[in-house]
């Protein structure tokens, strides 16, 4: 579907740019241009997003009736596993860093490419290789461990293609590490003259914080997965008590990566949010340093809260208490961001262009996800709602309501720069609305389901939960349609969309000071930066 991107260069833009400088499949598969690699990622993550989404649609259809409508429990288990694995490892984690990050990091800091262009291309191939292993696992019969691979189920008891799927995730991890490394070096060494750290766009700060987590966290996941595979293949006792191992050890290692991974998924979204809010209210961000530092705060504190996934796992009561208070601590920087974004709107000049609708939707949904995190961090309540639909609703509000909204907002914002074309505003606003409504209808009822006690990962459920499940399934169908609309008009716009100017939103930021689409080397001349980020014109208040 999105591979159309590859073949069709916009014709109307007359200058030579990265899309029309060369044609043919080879020019894409061997490109080292960060912008073309971003598009390779865009096509691949879009593919995985719709495969993972299809699994979700099947699950929601299945759950229309208490006894299950469509599939056997074994198949249902494989559906939620493939949904989780594809969405987490092949969509959410790479989405903003590898697509928007790749495209924008050099452009925003006034560089001609990333520090290591060939490494960047390698990241994509590694990602695709990992994806192929995972797809093989799905096609060969599926995996049924859940994306969390809890032992000893995954290492000993499951009769599904655990090794292939685990290998896929292991391999893809290297893609994250390479991308993170590339961004860190680029941001340190290749900023344009005058672009000091505190003049950087907040998107760069967010990507920088994310890259730190990529590099520090991903190796731990890789080790954990290798250990699961070794135990499964050679019965080396690490996690299975029957072999002398400790199943809780797996959870510690898994969440030591996978909790920070949650911030890998949301931090770049927060970065995009800061770009959108400022541009569409024509205001400097409120509290620049607080927003920038809160990204680093989240990245560092995020490594200290993994135990909040284990409040009922059998860890000690005191460990539970320490992880609870640390979890509240990590909530503070997120709250700071929400308040600063809201304050940025104050006395701004707010337009309702499509990217802004996604941005405003992001604040609302992310806030909902954030405050329900307060429930989960509270030990006494956690015990009740742990492993129920409350948790499902919470992280979908963050991951889908937050991250996917920000991602779509970002795509809508930078699409004119990426493709050189505009898309139909009316349709884009309509899609934002459909997604917002569909999302809330899908996931809000799940909070109540969780409070009522419906456990997650259930192929069948007691009859009293049906009304809420039907509401959720109805919402999912609306949400599914909502996601298809942008796919259609973006593809349409590549051929038929009006030609975009260099800076259609009158935005600040170096990426808007070069033609749309940009030339291969991004800038005719490396810009010199003399002002702070988001330095939109202001007037002095009249003295009353």
């Amino acid at each position: 579907m999105s591979s159309l991107t590859v073949d069709e260069a916009p014709q109307a833009a007359s200058h030579v740019h990265y899309l029309n400088v060369k044609f043919g499949v080879k020019s894409w598969l061997f490109t080292t241009d960060h912008k073309r690699i971003a598009l390779l990622y865009l096509a691949s993550i879009t593919f995985f997003f719709f495969v993972g989404g299809a699994a979700a649609v099947l699950m929601r259809l299945h759950l229309l009736t208490p006894g299950g409508l469509l599939v056997e429990p074994a198949t249902y288990n494989k559906l939620f596993t493939v949904h989780g694995i594809l969405m987490v490892f092949f969509f959410l984690i790479p989405a903003i860093p590898a697509v928007l990050g790749n495209f924008l990091v050099p452009m925003m800091i006034g560089a001609r490419d990333l520090a290591f262009p060939k490494l960047n291309l390698l990241s994509w191939y590694v990602y695709i290789l990992g994806g192929l292993f995972t797809l093989y696992a799905v096609v060969a019969g599926g995996v049924d461990t859940g994306w969390t691979f809890y032992t000893p189920y995954s290492s000993t008891y499951s009769n599904s293609h655990v090794i292939a799927a685990a290998l896929g995730i292991f391999i893809t991890g290297f893609s994250s590490i390479l991308t993170g490394l590339n961004f860190i070096v680029t941001i340190h060494k290749m900023r344009a003259p005058g672009l000091t750290w505190f003049r950087l766009p907040l998107f760069i700060w967010a990507i920088y914080a994310t890259s730190i987590i990529f590099i520090l966290g991903t190796p731990v996941l890789a080790i954990t997965i290798v250990l699961v595979a070794l135990e499964r293949l050679f019965h080396i006792g690490v996690f299975d008590p029957a072999l002398g191992g400790d199943p809780i050890l797996f959870q510690h290692m898994f969440w030591f990566y996978s909790h920070p991974a949650v911030y890998i998924m949301i931090l770049p979204g927060m970065g995009v949010e800061s770009e959108l809010i400022t541009c569409f209210s024509r205001k400097k961000i409120f509290g620049y340093k607080f927003v920038a530092m809160s990204s680093l705060g989240i990245a560092l504190l995020g490594f200290l809260v993994w135990g909040h996934h284990m409040f009922v796992s059998g860890q000690s009561m005191y460990a539970g208490m320490v992880f609870s208070i640390l979890s509240y601590l990590v909530a503070v920087p997120s709250a700071v961001k929400v308040f600063n974004w809201t304050a940025t709107l104050y006395k701004g000049s707010i337009s309702y262009d499509a990217p802004m609708l996604y941005a405003l939707g992001f604040i609302g949904l992310f806030t909902m996800g954030g405050v329900t995190g307060m429930f989960l961090a509270s030990l006494g309540v956690n015990v009740h709602v742990h492993d129920t639909y409350f948790v499902i609703a919470h992280f979908h509000y963050i991951m889908v309501g937050g991250m996917v909204m920000a991602y779509l907002g970002g795509i809508h914002f930078w699409w004119p720069k990426i493709s050189g074309r505009m898309y139909p505003q009316g349709w884009a606003r309509f899609a934002a609305l459909v997604i917002f409504v569909g999302f809330n209808l899908t996931f809000f009822p799940q909070y109540i389901l969780g409070f009522l006690g419906m456990p997650r990962r259930y192929a069948v459920y007691p009859a009293e939960f049906q009304v809420l499940n039907v509401m959720s399934s109805a919402g999912a169908s609306i949400l599914g349609v909502g996601y298809l609309i942008p796919l259609i008009y973006f593809i349409w716009s590549m051929r038929y969309g009006p030609v975009a100017s260099a800076n259609p939103w009158n935005a600040k930021g170096l990426e808007w000071q070069t033609p749309s689409p940009p030339p291969t080397e991004n800038f005719e001349e490396i810009p010199v930066v003399t002002e702070e980020a988001y330095d939109y014109p202001v007037r002095e208040a009249q003295v009353a």
Partner: protein, 317 residues
């Protein structure tokens, strides 16, 4: 649980109202802030909408006090949420002394339970109201989780060790029992019912059906069957320490450490005897790993717990 539509789960244990009060407190506080943010966005988006393309916004000051306030106030409230939640968690972790024990073994995909009186149940647990019940739980295969929404309690059930969960039921009725930790194909079917009864009815239920051995009696039989008695003499003259008064005592180990003899310690000593050697003894005990079922180990533990010895108990303290 009656069918129909409800927005809050039934409250049927002493801890349930505490959890719900905290839940509603959290809903109130976080709801206030969430609605505040939504209102501000809504008001700002309308009041400050772009009226002309060349509009220039007025300069806004960024008072430090505001940043401090929205860091400090939420964090202060979060400390309350933490403390309140931790207080409930503390109670979850500490069953009252003298709680009535029931033993639980989870396996793919069923729950096996045994009362101390010997009565066995599958996927169902009968308990009286007003009596604290402590479940001592383990799994035969993968990780499961014992979850009773109406009681607001939940605890993972692990292979290779014991975890505990306790509750005091307050309202007669039938309540859902769910497995909350994903455990494979029929995870969603690994549930059952908790039947809460008036004490008199419970006694009637307990005495009905086949009597069988109590857990303690079964444990004593196994203790003899596996020839434990040939080394563990009651008067401490054997090659191995006497087990009288062992439960909950402080045991001195070779190397000077001290451990509390709880269920996990006894279990480990049966399955991996050399892991912790009692001071003054040699590692002569063979492992019984793979020879005794999980239920059998629980019965032996019940028997060892029954071996009371006043003098050693006081010496241990």
């Amino acid at each position: 649980m009656q069918p129909g539509f409800s927005l809050s789960p039934e409250q049927a244990s002493t801890i349930a109202p505490h959890v719900d009060h905290l839940f509603y407190f959290l809903t109130g506080v976080t709801g206030f802030f969430a609605i505040l943010v939504f209102m501000l966005i809504f008001v700002f988006a309308i009041k400050y909408r772009r009226r002309s393309e060349d509009e220039i916004p007025v300069k806004v000051h960024e008072p430090m006090a505001l940043e401090t306030a929205w860091i400090g106030i939420p964090f202060g409230l979060m400390l309350i949420m933490f403390g309140w939640g931790a207080w409930i968690y503390y109670q979850d972790y500490n069953p009252p002394a003298g709680a009535f024990e029931v033993f639980v073994v989870g396996k793919q995909w069923m729950w096996k339970l045994q009362h101390p009186e010997g009565k066995r149940e599958i996927n169902e647990l009968h308990v009286p109201i007003g009596v604290p019940i402590k479940l001592v739980m383990t799994s035969q295969d993968v990780i499961h989780d014992f979850f009773i929404p109406a009681f607001r309690v939940k605890q993972d059930v692990l292979p290779g060790r014991y975890t505990e969960l306790w509750f005091k039921a307050t309202k007669p009725g039938r309540y859902h029992l769910f497995c909350a930790q994903y455990c494979g194909t029929d995870h969603a079917h690994m549930g059952g019912w908790i039947v809460v009864m008036e004490p008199r009815e419970y006694q009637r239920w307990l005495s009905g059906g086949e009597a069988g051995e109590t857990m303690e009696q079964a444990g004593r039989r196994l203790f003899q069957q596996y020839a434990c008695t040939s080394c563990h003499f009651e008067d401490n003259t054997g090659r191995c320490p006497s087990l009288r008064g062992l439960y909950h005592s402080q045991v001195k180990l070779v190397g000077g450490q001290t451990v509390t003899a709880d269920e996990n310690y006894i279990r480990e000593s049966i399955l991996d005897p050399n892991a912790k050697i009692v001071a003054g003894y040699s590692p002569v005990m063979p492992t019984f790993k793979g020879q005794i079922s999980e239920e059998g180990i629980l019965q032996i533990i019940a028997y060892i717990k029954s071996l009371k010895s006043p003098e050693r108990m006081s010496a241990g303290k």
